[in-house]
């Protein structure tokens, strides 16, 4: 799935926002998205020849496209210092 999203950015639409670091080692855990309503890592989810619904994580604040705010609150620029997550949009 992550390969497909990267392919889209290179060949079709570079404005597509996705979040990932380690590409496919499943080490950084940054590429979490929702596929067909289930929370998955894009890097380990296999693309199938069906229609698949890709959405940002439902319980996190949406930033853009598939990117949500997953940084710990005290590690953000506008640190909140609490562990409370804002509700999803």
């Amino acid at each position: 799935m992550l390969d497909a999203l990267r392919w889209i950015r290179i060949h079709r639409d570079p404005s597509l926002a996705i979040r990932f670091s380690c590409i496919n080692a499943n080490a950084c855990k940054e590429c979490m998205i929702s596929v067909d309503g289930k929370t998955v890592y894009a890097c380990t989810t296999r693309l199938t020849e069906n229609e698949m619904a890709l959405e940002p994580l439902p319980n996190k604040t949406l930033i853009k496209d598939l990117v949500t705010e997953i940084a710990p609150p005290d590690e953000r620029l506008k640190a909140t210092g609490s562990s409370a997550e804002p509700a999803g949009e």
């Binding site: 380690c22 950084c28 940054e30 890592y41 705010e69 590690e75």
Partner: protein
């Protein structure tokens, strides 16, 4: 925003530097373009960490140093290599006290013998979990220190230099597009290496050579830029997701394994042992492929078919299930491996205080060049991150203690300009650059190939193209433009240094200049002059 010590990059080197600077009394700001402790190379390290602990067999850092220098093919900076080896045991024991969980037997920390080491010297965390455990441990330490302000999703676009002194950095908050000035008494670059420049790499998306580009534009010198390490047995086929492509290293040091060509012959005289150092193994595999004895996807076979299911499970537990999910059964099939861009021996020139050639600018970890010469000994990368990070943090804190907080003058602004730049898809241009580097600037090089690469790199625009300001909000195209600007500059440094070095040594093999030459027993330094990238010997 202001701080005593600004650290750019939150892998092991940056995190260790932050802890060490804070312990020495500094206020620290640790920033990363990704999430803290997640995005660099450290979290991906699935292999070993070398230190002369003497737990498995009597050892001394001088033996570790001798192996490091031998692997470096005569080009290690001996002072940096010594620092790495001498301070390693202390850092490893400190990590142990912090609960990293180095693998143990009943009595002591386990140490395995990796290629190039004269005795068992390499510690690790089971199962194939060294990097994640190291990251988690350092994160836990960071979180306990109130003097460290951690900020993720912040990309440093340029360092701020005033009157020749580094006074902090210009940054962009990736999520909002907000431009920021970070004022610092001392700054440490800990951004890791440049393996993202290659199409086939074992790095994270963040390893595009940012720190080298920042240092160059700030006036600092780089060194040994032609020496890019390829890890010989990176995973090639069948498709494997959810694992780092360098995962076969721990398999080999635990289980041996046979590296075979298409005729099912061992070609490295290893006899099932894991003994060939990286440059040697890389060149041997590529030579087999060139001679028509490569595997279907253009690499070598790696076989563990001599191992039983029980042996595999004992050594690697849940990893065997993860392989099964990918349809891989090592008792029945060999897998294909091939060299993959893995680490950069070159980097920012620094002394043993980790001070660069620009006052108040330090470097740490893989960002620093020189300790590994022309070929890095396995197990020395995380060690380098720990030891150099710790030293950089200490020295930056000491300098900050006697420095007033600088103010960045507006006329010295070198942050992103507001000039709009229109260009084709930058994500596609990055992919093109990666292809060029893979094709012409890999482990085997020729003058004509390097010249072709230089032409194609130059077509990407000037070495210091203007970076436009991002649009408000998250702007992925801007981030690609930022990365392309750095990658293009750093790629040129590698190619120019590789063109000039008319010999073959370690990771740099010129097919048109075979053999190591006495004349080239020296370093090439790179700096950015007004007329472009300048090379000096």
């Amino acid at each position: 925003m202001q701080t005593d010590v600004l650290i750019v990059g939150a892998g092991a080197a940056g995190m260790y530097a932050a802890i060490s600077a804070a312990r020495a009394g500094s206020q620290v700001m640790l920033v990363d373009r990704s999430l803290i402790g997640r995005g660099g190379a450290t979290v991906m390290a699935q292999m070993t960490v070398a230190a002369a602990l003497g737990e498995e067999a009597p050892d001394h850092w001088e033996h570790h140093l001798a192996d490091t220098l031998a692997a470096g093919r005569g080009l290690c900076d001996p002072a940096l290599a010594r620092l790495l080896c001498e301070d390693a045991p202390e850092c490893i024991r400190e990590m142990d006290r912090w609960g990293v969980g180095w693998a143990r037997n009943t009595k002591h920390i386990r140490q395995v013998q990796a290629p190039g080491h004269d005795r068992p010297r390499c510690v690790y965390v089971d199962f194939v979990n060294t990097g994640p455990a190291v990251s988690k441990t350092l994160r836990a330490q960071l979180n306990r220190i109130p003097e460290i302000r951690r900020i993720g999703e912040l990309v440093v676009t340029d360092l701020a230099v005033q009157d020749g002194i580094c006074v902090g950095a210009h940054a962009v908050h990736v999520i909002s597009g907000e431009l920021l000035s970070l004022h610092a008494k001392a700054t440490i670059i800990a951004t890791g290496g440049l393996t993202r420049l290659y199409q086939r790499n074992s790095a994270s998306i963040n390893m595009g050579g940012d720190g080298y580009a920042l240092a160059l534009r700030a006036g600092a010198e780089l060194v040994d830029m032609e020496f890019v390490q390829f890890f010989p047995i990176g995973h090639l086929a069948p498709r494997l997701v959810g694992m780092d492509p360098i995962m076969w290293d721990p398999f080999r040091y635990k289980l041996g394994g046979k590296l075979l060509n298409a005729e099912m012959q061992e070609f490295l005289n290893e006899d099932g042992r894991y003994v060939s150092v990286r440059d040697q193994a890389t060149h041997a595999i590529l030579a087999e492929v060139a001679a028509g004895r490569g595997t279907p996807h253009g690499g070598a076979w790696l076989s563990f078919r001599h191992c039983s299911e029980a042996e595999l499970r004992l050594a690697f537990g849940p990893i065997i299930d993860r392989l099964a999910e990918n349809g891989i059964d090592l008792t029945r099939q060999a897998i294909e491996v091939a060299p993959i861009a893995h680490y950069h021996m070159g980097g920012i020139r620094a002394d043993t205080d980790m001070q660069t050639s620009v006052p108040h600018l330090f470097a740490a970890g893989e960002a620093v060049g020189g300790a590994s010469g022309a070929n890095r000994l396995s197990g020395n990368a995380i060690t380098e991150a720990f030891t150099f990070g710790r030293r950089a943090g200490l020295r930056a804190a000491a300098l900050a203690a006697k420095t007033a907080i600088p103010s960045i003058r507006q006329e010295s602004e070198t942050g992103p300009s507001s000039v709009p730049v229109s260009r084709p898809n930058p994500a596609a241009e990055i992919a093109r650059l990666q292809q060029v580097m893979n094709e012409h600037v890999g482990p085997l090089r020729t003058r004509s190939g390097l010249e072709r690469a230089l032409e194609q790199i130059t077509e990407l625009g000037p070495e210091c193209g203007t970076l436009p300001a991002p649009r408000a909000g998250l702007d992925p195209e801007w981030l690609d433009l930022h990365d392309l600007r750095n990658m293009r500059l750093v790629a040129e440094c590698i190619v120019r240094a590789a063109l000039a070095r008319e010999e073959s040594r370690g990771a740099h093999q010129r097919q048109d200049c075979p053999g190591t030459s006495e004349r080239w027993q020296n370093h090439q330094r790179v700096r950015l002059a007004s007329d472009g990238v300048r090379l000096e010997r």
